[in-house]
């Protein structure tokens, strides 16, 4: 079988201890929670850190807490726990759904929401064994200089594939990040960059500790859609999260749409609120929004699935998301 490289495994019990280890071994260390993404990536020699800092023993990172204003979800809460949490199901159904659609049952029990938010970008030329990548001549994201998705491209366009991050954007979630210089809170909308090589704004030594999700207003509705080949296991071929704020007279006050699994970050589509504001959410409006989304979305050949078809599925997902909201 594929073998892992040798590494030292650390088991801190507090966030401070974890940060200290990340700083101590800076440049040769990675945090590991569920390991469901990192371990296969290490087997593919995409990462070969000499030290792994396990986050599983840190109690303060595991809780899911609810207060009047919203939820604080520990970064190492398992995807399965969030997906089944009765409070989350009631108040944050789109997030619970996104969690429930990640991979399969066994991996959801191991995999964590923080790990999913920080999921490495994915590409058909990158998520392969060392033998395969070497035969290719490597790529821009790892060990090479050429992009094979966009020939001649100088910017990595590996696909952002984190279902939960897509769902968290229209929820206006905030990420609590702790590092050697203390902690900071960053809105998830400002967390991602378009660089597929490393698309998270996180400094070495920093850890995502928890996710704060404000309680949605009572006249707000969310929907999350995932396009995948099988009813289990698969990463998204397309992700869509939609939020509609209704006014008291049931007109659309604002409408946000986030699409992902195309380029390297979850993209908030433009103009949606402008088009929809002050109107009834009718079939005609839904169709107009679907066409607008289609115009703005351009999936790439970063996965071995027909990009033209994926693009054609954008309006389908938009219609399904908005129909779900009007139902």
């Amino acid at each position: 079988m594929l073998r892992l490289h040798p590494y030292e495994y650390h088991r801190p019990e507090t966030v401070d201890e974890a940060i200290a280890l990340l700083v101590e071994h800076s440049g040769d260390v990675m945090p590991i929670a569920g390991g469901t993404d990192l371990v296969p990536n290490m087997k593919h020699k995409l990462f070969t850190p000499g030290h792994l800092v396990s986050l599983r023993g840190i109690a303060e990172m595991q809780d899911i807490a609810e207060d009047d204003d919203g939820f604080t979800i520990g970064a190492t809460a398992s995807l399965d726990r969030v997906a089944r949490d009765a409070r989350a199901l009631r108040a944050l159904p789109s997030l619970a759904r996104a969690c429930s659609l990640v991979s399969g049952p066994q991996l959801r029990r191991m995999g964590t929401i923080g790990g999913n938010v920080c999921l490495d970008t994915r590409c058909t030329y990158y998520n392969q064994t060392l033998f395969w990548r070497k035969a290719l001549g490597y790529c821009l994201k790892k060990d090479g200089t050429a992009c094979h998705v966009v020939k001649g491209g100088t910017r990595c366009v590996a696909a952002h594939s984190a279902d939960t991050a897509t769902a968290l954007l229209p929820l206006e979630a905030e990420l609590r990040i702790v590092g050697p210089d203390g902690e900071r809170t960053t809105p998830i909308t400002a967390f991602f960059t378009s660089d597929g090589v490393w698309n998270r704004r996180m400094e070495p030594g920093e850890l995502l500790v928890s996710i704060r999700v404000p309680r949605p207003a009572s006249n707000t509705r969310h929907s999350f859609q995932k396009l995948r080949a099988r009813d289990s296991i698969d990463f998204p071929m397309l992700n869509l999260a939609v939020r509609v704020d209704f006014s008291e007279d049931h007109l659309v006050a604002d409408l946000q749409m986030v699409a992902s699994a195309m380029g390297s970050y979850p993209r908030r589509l433009g103009k949606m609120g402008v088009v929809a504001a002050g109107r009834w959410l009718t079939a005609e409006l839904i169709d107009q929004l679907a066409q607008e989304a289609f115009r703005q979305c351009h999936p790439l050949d970063n996965m071995p699935i027909d990009a033209e078809w994926r693009r054609a599925m954008v309006p389908v997902l938009v219609r399904r998301a908005l129909s779900e909201i009007t139902d």
Binding site: L2, R3, F131, K134, L227, R230, I233, P304, D306, W309
Partner: protein, 812 residues
């Protein structure tokens, strides 16, 4: 021994004598029942021992260096320095194994390690044995190879060009030929051109099968060991121990009598382990070189390179029929994309035409099949070898003929039923339950209320097929039996069955155990089975072409009846019952005319002891060879595809197509299969469901394809189980298995195959159901959502035009 004494013997496991009353003269006691497999609990509880579970003292681990180029000459290879790495024991290259091999004796074109040239990305180049896998991997990385890259051909059409012939993948065997052609077969039966002209309806179309691999759970694994006397043993996850033993001896230049092959439990094979592989030669030679046991376990990625899966096939079919639906002429052309080596390709090329001629009566038939080398992992036999692709093209063609004639597609098939007798290519069919299969799926699926009548998006489709129960001739020409079984009866009542069949999950051990229990009257739990060890059990040629139940089963019956006759004779004399009335069943030997009579029965162990006292140790060898007279035509190639008995299948698939996304949700597949006689209905149903599943998976999802373009050309698109998608339980339709039994005189108790035939109709039945659902013809596999979406889009663009090429001729 006095009968009273015998009666006192242990009766554990014997049936209640009262139950024997219900036994008719030919009722089965064990066969025909849903008995558990002997290995079932071991597998279910994780206690089964597979090759990789074996560890021998001092065992080394081997790794292969594989080619990063699709086609290249090896200019230089520097490997010996790696033996200086601590922990590395030996390294071998192509120069160490110069003898070519191949499963088909006429096309030996492979080397365990590349000699001079590599022919696909993943072709093995060198092999290192070290103390552990990490060290072996490091040594493999340190090997230096200089390649001169050659032009490579990823499609058969490219390999057939004159330019490609100038730099062929394999040297031409004759001057002036293109070395890239493995095999070409052209056969014609009857007046195809005349009858095509006379047909009232002619349907013509191009079809494409894309290529799939087996994806067994267990990766290939082999261990080589040389004992103190120099005897070589290779444990391997193979399905052909006998052929492997022969090829190991030939390539390693050893006396075949000094080579032993043992097949531990195999975790799935499906045809992907039915020939010798690089790893088996490498562990053998490395064991000989180092004097230590050597293990090599493929990574999942390596399975996609060793491959031998179903050939991509481009097919052209023209089918002519009369106005009343009778088939008059079938004309077929197929181009097989073979990958880098021949494997079973010679047979595949024949099978792509020869196996199409039942269950329908074809008045005339012609096929022209060409297999071409390409710079891709080699294709070979996958469940339903060679005939799944043409069956798809043909059964979709039949659906089009039915549509043209506005005839129910089941009715069309019924009208063309051949019954028993000779196929157009002269195969002898002695049993044929295809009509019952059609009736079973028609009734179970509620076909008449559904076909053409469901709402847009939902549809049903039907397809039929035929398959072989073993090949009439072995792979290397010889007159010896194809299968043999040794049965030993022990005085405790235990029966041992030693047979050569390869248990690969299909149930050959269970079948032999059940036959022995039935024939010798012991409870199933008293039978021990030892199989697939070339030193200890009689020969069998292996688990391929669905041959085990019929061939090894017949050999087992032959052995058991010899022993049974001896036991019955002894019981007859002792109890003074006519021998014809002595029955062995349910743990007893008894008078079949008075089963409940205490004075006229003995516990079976007592009967065995009686017989052993009179005759000496009880045991017998049985064998089976195929009939040679009158089973096939005498033309060149007429033996290939000939089988002692043929199985038949019909499927109805019901699908729901999402017209927006193109996703095809297969709701139910009703599978009716004529297996002759179900020796264990549970195992037969398992094979039917598993086959239908595999066909469904190939139709909907699975794709073994290579990337094109520069520099990625020739790289496998998805060499992992994440990206090579096989359907999960959530993606599966409901499978409804309907057993049909048209007993065949050649089969044991009438039994025929069940492990491959039921795969074929899945693909065309789903295609035909998609047509019924949304009115598009999916002539090109697979039916992934993007492809169905495109077909629907093209249909919308083309509304009002012809939906497929066909012509109805006036007159006749």
């Amino acid at each position: 021994m006095h009968p009273d004494e015998l009666n006192a013997l242990q009766r554990t496991g014997a049936d209640d004598p009262a139950e024997l009353e219900t036994l008719g003269a030919d009722d089965f006691r064990v066969l025909g029942r849903r008995n558990r497999k002997p290995e079932g609990l071991r597998k279910g509880t994780g206690r089964e021992i597979y090759t990789d579970d074996l560890a021998l003292p001092g065992m080394l681990h081997a790794k292969l260096l594989r080619s990063p180029h699709p086609h290249a000459r090896i200019v230089s290879l520097n490997a010996q320095h790696t033996t200086r790495i601590p922990g590395v024991h030996a390294v071998i290259t192509g120069a160490d194994l110069p003898t070519p091999y191949g499963i088909i004796p006429w096309t030996r074109d492979e080397h365990a390690l590349a000699v001079d040239k590599v022919r696909y990305i993943g072709d093995a180049v060198a092999c290192v044995a070290a103390v552990d896998e990490e060290t072996a991997n490091a040594a493999v990385e340190a090997i230096e190879v200089e390649y001169e890259e050659l032009p490579f051909y990823l499609e058969p059409e490219e390999a057939l060009t004159d330019g490609a012939a100038a730099v062929p993948i394999h040297d031409a065997r004759r001057e002036g030929r293109n070395g890239n052609v493995t095999k070409k077969v052209e056969l014609e039966f009857g007046r195809v051109d005349d009858l095509m002209r006379e047909s009232d309806v002619v349907v013509e179309g191009d079809y494409f099968f894309h290529g799939t691999t087996h994806a067994p759970i267990e990766p290939h694994c082999a261990i080589g060991n040389v004992d103190a006397d120099g005897l070589l043993t290779v444990w391997s996850s193979t399905q052909v121990p006998h052929y492997l033993q022969r090829e190991l001896a030939r390539v390693l230049e050893l006396d075949v009598a000094r080579v032993r092959v043992v097949q531990p439990a195999v975790g799935g094979a499906f045809g992907g382990k039915s020939e010798p592989f690089d790893l088996e030669f490498c562990v053998a030679l490395l064991a000989l070189r180092t004097g230590r046991p050597v293990k090599l376990l493929y990574t999942r990625e390596e399975l996609f390179y060793s491959h031998r899966g179903r050939h991509p096939m481009s097919m052209w079919y023209r089918v002519g029929a009369s106005r009343d639906g009778k088939l008059k002429a079938v004309d077929a052309r197929s181009l097989l994309d073979g990958g880098a080596y021949a494997s079973f390709g010679l047979v595949t090329t024949y099978y792509s035409g020869q196996l199409l001629t039942a269950p329908y009566e074809l008045e005339s038939y012609r096929f022209d099949s060409t297999r071409v080398y390409t710079n891709k992992p080699p294709c070979g036999p996958k469940r339903g070898h060679g005939s799944v692709q043409p069956r798809f093209a043909f059964e979709v063609s039949l659906d089009k003929v039915a549509a043209e004639l506005e005839m129910d597609p089941i009715e069309l098939r019924r009208r063309n039923f051949m019954g028993t007798g000779r196929t157009v290519n002269e195969f002898r069919v002695q049993s044929n339950g295809f009509l019952e299969c059609l009736e079973a799926v028609e009734a179970a699926s509620d076909w008449k209320k559904k076909h053409g009548k469901l709402a847009y998006g939902r549809g049903v489709g039907v397809a039929g097929s035929c398959y072989i129960s073993g090949t009439n001739y072995p792979i290397y020409p010889n007159e010896m039996p194809q299968a043999a079984v040794q049965v030993q009866v022990e005085r405790s009542g235990r029966v041992s069955v030693l047979h050569g069949a390869s248990e690969i999950g299909q149930g050959s051990d269970a079948t032999m155990a059940a036959i022995a229990a039935e024939e010798l009257g012991v409870p199933l739990g008293y039978v021990r089975v030892l199989s697939a060890d070339t030193d200890l059990v009689p020969v069998d040629l292996g688990a391929y072409s669905s041959r085990e139940t019929l061939m090894v089963g017949n050999a087992c019956v032959h052995a058991c009846r010899q022993v049974g006759d001896v036991v019955r004779a002894s019981v007859s004399r002792t109890l003074e019952i006519p021998v014809a009335r002595v029955r062995l069943a349910g743990g007893w030997a008894f008078d079949s005319s008075a089963p409940a009579d205490d004075d006229r029965r003995l516990p079976i162990a007592a009967a065995f002891q009686l017989a052993e006292s009179e005759h000496g140790t009880l045991g017998a060898l049985g064998h089976y060879n195929t009939p040679k007279e009158g089973v096939h035509g005498e033309y060149r190639g007429g033996t290939i595809g000939a089988s002692p008995a043929y199985s038949f299948t019909a499927h109805v698939a019901e699908v729901e197509v999402d017209p927006e996304t193109g996703f095809v949700d297969v709701k139910t597949i009703w599978v009716a299969h004529d297996c002759g006689r179900a020796l264990n209905p549970m195992l037969v149903e398992g094979q039917m469901e598993g086959s239908a599943y595999m066909g469904f998976a190939e139709a909907i999802m699975e794709q073994q394809v290579m990337k094109r373009g520069t520099p990625e050309g020739g790289l496998h698109d998805a060499p992992s189980l994440l990206d090579y998608r096989i359907p999960t339980s959530l993606d599966c339709p409901e499978f409804v298995a309907l057993i049909v039994e048209a007993a065949d005189p050649e089969g044991p108790y009438g039994a025929k195959e069940a492990g491959e035939g039921p795969l074929h109709p899945s693909l065309p039945a789903i295609a035909n159901a998609i047509w019924d659902a949304v009115g598009v013809r999916m002539d090109s596999l697979p039916f992934t959502p993007d492809r169905v979406w495109r077909a629907l889009r093209d249909q919308a663009d083309d509304m009002g035009g012809n939906r497929h090429e066909s012509t109805i001729r006036e007159g006749g």
